[in-house]
């Protein structure tokens, strides 16, 4: 049913459809609406889950860890400082191979404290071993939750999935969303059958000490599982399309990339703005296209390289960077291309940090810059007079 709802509600509706056993979260802007909606649904008996209020995000992550280990489907949501406070548990959930799903309403990191959107939070935990998906709009965020559980709970994968959606820009935006019905959801997402779980009838030990003769193998298996999740993520996207008719790409997506001399690369809600900008530029005869990264972990290096092989220039637009190094997407894409014969000219830009608005004119400026010459780690719309 099509509903005019807030992005956070689109997520809450989707989580409800996934029939979670346990939901636990802690308030932090701009995530809070998601769990407020969910707690109301639990209070109204619409979701038959245990809603656990906790003393911190660290507690929330630990609660969903325990819930998943006991064989239940578990959900949490957070952002920014909350995600960092969860950090230790985030790594542990992945190491324990628990298919928890967490929604991150992406927000910047303090200091200075700033509640608005960028991708610094998600990028800070990118090495934790989670499957990391980025939604472009609220419909995709809604649909992604069903896919996320399906992917993470695939027995050979057994990994947690993080759904990233831009804070405020998506979480607080009202738009029309096709809300899936419970019957349709049930036919897409079967009940959780954990590969291993805590049970008095079949006692297992989870969270062992692995000495040097075992640790490497455990980490290697995680790495393999992450790579093996790529076809599973693609299949989930195809299955979803087959059932619901909606498609947002699988690990990546492309837009008007045929014959494009310059291709923008980005993740999240910026994709929407970029599509508009590409349309405008194409209208003016400029040969531009767009590559959307939908799955950031596992990193779809081969797919990206393949998509960029006929391109002259690439403009990577990142909402985060590695302080003291450079752009994260930029470096990873360059590394992926290095394994191929393709050598497009790559420019990297930091954009929209801490919620700075990204008008189409800024993208046109970026385009003009890369057309003129290759650019490295440029802060877009920087007030240069303040940093001199």
């Amino acid at each position: 049913m099509r509903k005019f709802i807030e992005g956070s509600m689109a997520v809450a509706e989707a989580v409800k459809l996934c029939r979670p056993h346990v939901i636990s979260a802690y308030p932090i802007t701009p995530q809070t609406h998601i769990v407020e909606h969910l707690s109301q649904m639990v209070a109204d008996g619409e979701v038959n889950a245990q809603f656990i209020n906790v003393e911190s995000e660290f507690g929330a992550a630990s609660v969903v860890l325990g819930a998943s280990a006991a064989g239940g489907r578990a959900f949490s949501a957070t952002t920014s400082q909350g995600l960092l406070l969860m950090g230790e548990v985030i790594f542990n959930i992945a190491g324990l191979r628990l298919p928890v799903v967490i929604t991150v309403a992406n927000r910047s990191i303090s200091a200075p404290i700033n509640i608005w959107n960028d991708h610094s939070d998600a990028m800070a935990i990118r090495d934790a071993g989670w499957i990391m998906l980025f939604a472009e709009d609220n419909q995709e965020a809604h649909d992604m939750h069903l896919q996320a559980y399906k992917i993470g709970e695939t027995p050979e994968i057994s990994l947690p999935v993080m759904i990233n959606m831009d804070g405020f820009i998506l979480t607080h935006a009202f738009e029309g969303v096709d809300v899936i019905s419970q019957e349709e959801a049930d036919s897409f997402l079967p009940p959780f059958k954990p590969a291993v779980h805590l049970d008095v009838k079949n006692p297992v030990t989870m969270g062992v000490l692995a000495e040097p003769q075992w640790y490497m193998e455990a980490r290697c298996r995680m790495q393999e599982a992450l790579y093996e999740s790529r076809p599973v993520i693609k299949q989930a996207a195809r299955d979803f399309k087959g059932k619901f008719g909606r498609w947002y790409g699988d690990v990546i997506d492309t837009y008007r990339i045929d014959g494009a001399e310059t291709v923008f690369v980005a993740m999240g809600s910026l994709i929407g703005t970029l599509k508009d900008a590409v349309d405008d530029l194409r209208g003016k005869g400029e040969k531009v296209g767009l590559l959307k990264i939908r799955c950031f972990r596992p990193f779809p290096g081969q797919e990206i390289a393949e998509a960029l092989k006929n391109t002259r220039r690439v403009a990577i637009m990142e909402k985060a960077f590695s302080l003291g190094a450079s752009g994260i997407l930029g470096d990873e894409i360059k590394a992926a291309l290095y394994a191929t014969p393709y050598r497009p000219e790559i420019s990297t830009f930091f954009i929209g940090l801490g919620g700075r608005d990204i008008p189409k004119s800024s993208i046109v400026n970026v385009y003009n810059q890369v057309k003129a010459k290759q650019q490295n780690n440029v802060f877009v719309d920087l007030k240069t007079e303040l940093v001199k």
């Binding site: 346990v22 239940g72 542990n92 008095v200 006692p203 969270g207 062992v208 000490l209 075992w214």
Partner: protein
């Protein structure tokens, strides 16, 4: 072992029939040091709880010595996640079992050392107690971070020498008193709080059974000597544990709904504090010559005195 008391715990009556072989739920063969009070404490807790019990354990000696992959000493569903979250992990297990309809006739125990409980894990513990989960939290109090080499914790006693509260020209060791964690637990208005010790195993097991018969959050703090950290011979664990009680330094009591309902009286078995202190290397510096050392010993006697008054131990 010396008999420390005139009225000891009732010795179990000798059984005529041969007892069947019991499978300990925390199996033998793990890597704990000889004389480890924590290993003994955990074994007693698990035996009292029985096999229908889910266990979440914090990082620390107990977790390390019992689960070196591919071995595990646990004959029950057991999980270790991190140092400071066993209470929250257990909360998640409880919620999950309820949601799946698997919570009937099972126990859930969260456990950790004194550091994992009183210091770094106090937030998760408080959350668990506040929320009213049907979980027993057991703190094995060996009075320091033993797993990382005997650093002080919030439950390290006054003047004990640890690797981060050393004695020295300007120091008598740990400058703080034991944090009153049972009182903090009780302040959450939970139905049952108890202290226990491996010195009195039957009492410990009875308390675990009682706690598990009560719905809601329960907290038991078990005093467990550590021969390595406290520096005493490993065959003296039980004796040291009893001396802690008989000197009044470790009061053993139960609190039901916030009220102290039972204390283990020490009566005429009371021992001077020095008897407990002098058998442990961690207090040896207090027995140096001079008025200063005597002053420190007097402070410890006063701690015992205060416990004796507060709980009416004699």
């Amino acid at each position: 072992m010396r008999n420390l008391e005139t009225s000891t715990e009732k010795a179990p009556k000798p059984k005529k029939e041969k007892e069947p072989v019991v499978e300990w739920l925390l199996a033998a063969g793990h890597r704990a040091c000889s004389g480890c009070g924590e290993a003994l404490g955990a074994k007693l807790v698990m035996d009292a709880a029985g096999p229908n019990t889910y266990v979440a354990t914090a990082t620390g000696c107990l977790e390390v010595f019992s689960t070196p992959y591919p071995e595990s000493a646990w004959r029950m569903p057991w999980i270790h996640s991190l140092f400071e979250n066993s209470a929250a992990v257990a909360s998640g297990i409880e919620a999950s079992l309820i949601a799946q309809g698997r919570d009937k006739d099972v126990n859930i125990i969260a456990q950790g050392g004194d550091g994992g409980t009183a210091d770094i894990g106090i937030g998760c513990l408080s959350g668990m107690l506040e929320r009213g989960h049907n979980i027993l939290y057991v703190c094995y109090d060996n009075e320091a971070y033993m797993n990382t080499g005997v650093q002080r914790s919030g439950l390290t006693p006054f003047d004990a020498r640890t690797s981060t509260s050393p004695s020295g020209k300007l120091s008598w060791g740990n400058k703080t008193n034991k944090k009153d964690l049972p009182a903090i637990a009780a302040a959450h208005h939970i139905p049952y709080v108890a202290t226990a010790t491996v010195g009195y195993p039957n009492d410990l097991m009875a308390k675990v059974k009682k706690a598990l018969s009560i719905r809601g959050p329960k907290y038991i703090q078990v005093h467990v000597p550590c021969p390595l950290g406290w520096i005493h011979p490993s065959d003296m664990t039980i004796e040291v544990a009893k001396l802690a009680v008989l000197t009044g330094l470790i009061p053993i009591y139960e609190m039901e709904n916030g009220v102290v309902t039972k204390v283990r009286k020490i009566g005429k078995n009371r021992r001077p504090a020095e008897e407990y202190l002098k058998v442990q290397g961690r207090f040896r510096h207090l027995f140096a010559k001079g008025a200063d050392a005597e002053e420190e010993l007097e402070k410890i006697r006063q701690i015992a005195e205060a416990n004796i008054k507060r709980f009416g131990l004699v």
